[in-house]
């Protein structure tokens, strides 16, 4: 049995040998992540498909395989014995094994840990990108590895893939935003796909970005130090929160353009909120104010617009650059799990509520870290910070032209719906902690 060949005129590769190499690669990966016990044996690997991306030496082979219940992707680098290799990480210096093809015997490395192979892979996927001086490995999760080239391009290679036939949902969202003209993201340069499966994405890269979470905590740090009201304290975050609100609205307008809108059902959403809250702690639902909130929503007869929302939209999912804010999705290291979750159509206020909750969390974390006993009285300052920045965020969001077509009409419904979604977020958070 031989492997189907890709664009390159490569030789047939032995499937058993490939399975061994995939097992070695996945084991390496897990060991590097501190999971020594999760070694994979070659018997557990079922190679699904492979493509010779670059024949000869150094050569590149992309392999997808099923390991246990996971669908994984490995990029193998084939080198002539004795080749000198410049490794990108200390952990990747051991070869995965050897393999033989028509060129002869090859020593195989993880291509994403080898500077020259990483450079060649970029050219194969994105076309010639001009001379590259150096490659850095900038992020690594169980789902993906991201490489930066000369601080100008980033290449994220997915290591965990969604089920066959499904798009990588984060990538789909990202490409949809880009197609709709939303420019507060790192622009795509090339997409790496094989038979409908998303394998990676090449983007423009911007080094030196800072997540909103880090920025918010820096603001709270200076607030705590100064002891003055947030608007007097120096590193005020409100102008940034305001801009974040504007960006969120622009993102929603683009998502509406890209994925269309549906009619949303408030009572369905309300049921989901209640279920989440009950799962976290049944006492929450018994609370009178929560009861009132849910009851008020159930009385709503007004139809609401549902769009494809971002989902889990928090301060860690946005980044400040020297020129403004970015949505980090599909950014290097920021790729959300594929996990096969169906794209969610909800009121855009769900994302807004996520971000409000994130502002709340930032204030909580700062107070807990700097005034754990509460004796210093910091909490009233962090609460003032939260109120100020929630207002600024909402003001930026609701003042964006066009957003009125997406959020429910009427202040009360906006308020209660956002509050309900935030309740849901807090319940999910509480459940995760428990």
């Amino acid at each position: 049995m031989s492997v189907p060949r890709g664009s390159g005129a490569g030789p047939a590769l032995d499937l058993g040998a490939l399975a061994e190499l995939v097992a070695a690669s996945v084991s390496h990966r897990r060991a590097a992540a501190g999971d020594e016990l999760a070694k994979v044996a070659s018997e557990d690997v079922v190679v699904a498909d492979a493509e010779v991306v670059r024949p000869g030496r150094p050569g590149l082979v992309s392999v997808t395989a099923n390991v246990d219940a996971l669908r994984v992707h490995v990029v193998l680098g084939l080198r002539a014995p004795g080749d000198e290799v410049r490794f990108l990480t200390d952990a990747d210096d051991a070869p995965l094994g050897i393999i033989e093809d028509e060129t002869g015997l090859a020593v195989v490395f993880d291509a994403l840990g080898d500077a020259e192979l990483a450079d060649l892979l970029l050219d194969e996927v994105a076309g010639d990108q001009g001379p590259i001086e150096w490659v850095h490995r900038i992020a690594e999760t169980s789902e993906s590895v991201s490489l930066a080239y000369d601080d100008r391009l980033a290449f994220t290679v997915f290591q965990q893939l969604p089920a066959p036939g499904e798009r990588h949902s984060g990538l789909e969202l990202y490409l949809g935003l880009d197609d709709a003209g939303f420019n507060q993201l790192l622009a795509p340069v090339a997409l790496w796909q094989r038979r409908g499966t998303d394998l990676g994405v090449v983007q423009e890269y911007q080094p030196g970005t800072t997540t909103g979470w880090v920025l918010a905590l820096a603001s709270l740090r200076d607030l705590a130090e100064s002891g003055a009201a947030p608007e007097e304290a120096g590193a005020d975050f409100a102008a940034e929160a305001n801009r974040l609100g504007t960006m969120t609205a622009r993102m929603h307008l683009a998502l509406d353009t890209a994925f269309g809108r549906r009619t949303g059902d408030v009572s369905t959403w309300t049921d989901a909120v209640e279920a989440s809250a009950r799962a976290a702690d049944p006492a929450i639902v018994e609370d009178a104010s929560v009861q009132a909130l849910l009851a008020e929503l159930r009385r709503t007869t007004r139809p609401c617009v549902a769009i494809r929302t971002h989902g889990d939209f928090h301060l860690g999912r946005v980044a400040r650059t020297d020129l403004g804010w970015l949505v980090l999705d599909c950014s290097p290291g920021g790729v959300p799990a594929g996990e096969g979750t169906a794209p969610t159509f909800r009121s855009p206020l769900a994302d807004v509520a996520d971000m409000l909750w994130s502002l709340h969390r930032a204030a909580e974390v700062a107070a807990a870290e700097r005034d754990p006993t509460g004796e210093a009285g910091l909490r009233h300052l962090t609460q003032a910070w939260e109120v100020r920045n929630r207002r600024a965020y909402l003001a930026g969001y609701l003042a964006t032209p066009g957003i009125g077509g997406l959020v429910p009409s009427g202040r009360d419904l906006v308020r209660t719906l956002a509050a309900a979604f935030e309740l849901e977020r807090s319940a999910i958070h509480a459940a995760a902690r428990a």
Partner: protein, 622 residues
Amino acid sequence: MTTDGSSPAHDPAGSVDPVDPVELAVGDVPVAPELAGLAELPVGQQAPPAGGPVPDAAEDPRWYQRAVFYEVFIRGFFDGNDDGTGDLSGLIAKLDYLQWLGVDCLWLLPFFPSPLRDGGYDISDYFSVHPEYGTVDELRKLLDEAHARGIRVIADLVINHTSDQHPWFLESRQSRDNPKADWYVWNDDDQRWPEARVVFVDVERSNWAYDAQRDQYYWHRFYGHQPDLNYDNPEVVEAMLGVVRFWLDLGLDGFRLDAVPFLYQRDGTAGENLPETHAFIRTVRSVLDAEYPGRILLAEANGWPADVADYFGDGDECHLCFHFPLMPRLFMAVRREQRYPVTEILAQTPDIPDGAQWAIFLRNHDELTLEMVSDEERDYLFSEYASDPRMKRHMGIGRRLAPLLDRDRRLAELLWSLLLSLPGSPVLYYGDEIMMGDNVYLGDRDSVRTPMQWTPDRNAGFSRADFAQLYLPPLMDPVYGFTAVNVEAQQRNPSSFLHWVRRMLGVRRQFPVFGTGEIEILACSNPAVLGFVRYDDRAVANPMLCVHNLSRFAQPAELHLGRWAGRQPVEVLGRVPFPPVGTDPYPVTMASHGTEWFELVEPATALTAEAGPAAELGEAPR
């Protein structure tokens, strides 16, 4: 020992009277013969040292790109004739101080005869000097004495309008057919050009004022007592060129053109930045280039950099333009403890023609204006002001630098370090080099125009007149008063702010790339750290790496210095070599509000750099 960074070879000859013991000490420090040569920088990096006479234009036509400007309010600088008001003879007496400090060019606020209803920006005679300040002969002497010390001098020129007491206007208003009848902008009604905004909207209702004598209205973009000249009249253009030639013949090195955008009016326009205005400036520039090479024009056009850059023309209009929006953003960056306000405005700053230069400043004689943000609904700065009452209170009115910073020395050094290292020629305001205070009870503009504080003696050493005779009282409070804050005390104290400023001006002079180089903002994931490289690919000069910590806390940062891999940073004050730059982000640790400047040298020259002059002279820790 001294903390003064310059070697004896660079020390200007003149020191202030009485002889400063610190200065003597500099000369006394023995320099080992084997180190003597190290005081010289590699060929190509040697800037003309401060102190020699001004070279002629052919030698250094682009001096203004590297110059440090110093704004002098003559009335408040030094009183040479004991009448309580600063004057030209007083300024001449203090040229040694300015040479010692190391400034390259003085900018004089208007010194022309004037009813002084607008700080001298209401000129009533273009060919003379206000009697309180002196005479034309004294001005000529000032120019000669300054030039002998290597200092150039430019002056404010108000060309848009005159005082209503100017003989031209007095004649023009006489009748509708006198020889000057058409020198100003007259109209039968006050309805023309409704699109033109009223600049001083709080005090003027209209740009038209009625004159009963002519039974007509005259046009004024500023105060009603400042009628606008009619530049559609060729006689006015010729007259103004005559004014320009008169002062350049006397030796003046150029002009700051006041209120430049408003020279012409056209139907259906706002009467600002019209093509005719640019044509007029090109005419003035061509006179300078043809008859007075090396003299300069500095434009005051308050606006966005992209619009203001029009006043550079194709390199055939002004040599320098003020970069107004940078200044408040520097304050905002320090206040917000993050670099974004600065990086954003630099991103909005267009490339400018070869030979052009921005003029940048921290504070000047005016209050901070927010004019430039009026049309920008989404403007960051405006939302800042709206959202931060303290900034609004402090910066919407005239304050000096030190009170704005609550007299925080580290913050002052941080802001000055930014001023001296960002692209543009820095313009200093008199007194800020000793962290002088202001007097808000005097009202907005006078609050920052109190007498220069020279000594702890009577009248701050500014004047020997009776106290009651002084044009304004000097500051006498315990914090900013002249007994606490004065030039003499700071000259005697090597760790004073004045000495720090002088040392930094010396460093800047050593590295002309600060004046002529490009800027590369360095990517860095710590928003509190602003790092950039100043470089000039056309010159052999080494790039300079400048890193600023905008936070009150110590901060780590990793700077993306990829382009400069292989170079070695050498800290400029101590000539301390740092580890070479590799392809990985370069780690630095910055002290609270810390600033560091490094020369990025080729490794081969790093050893030489290590034993630089400042280190050998016993640089004290900062």
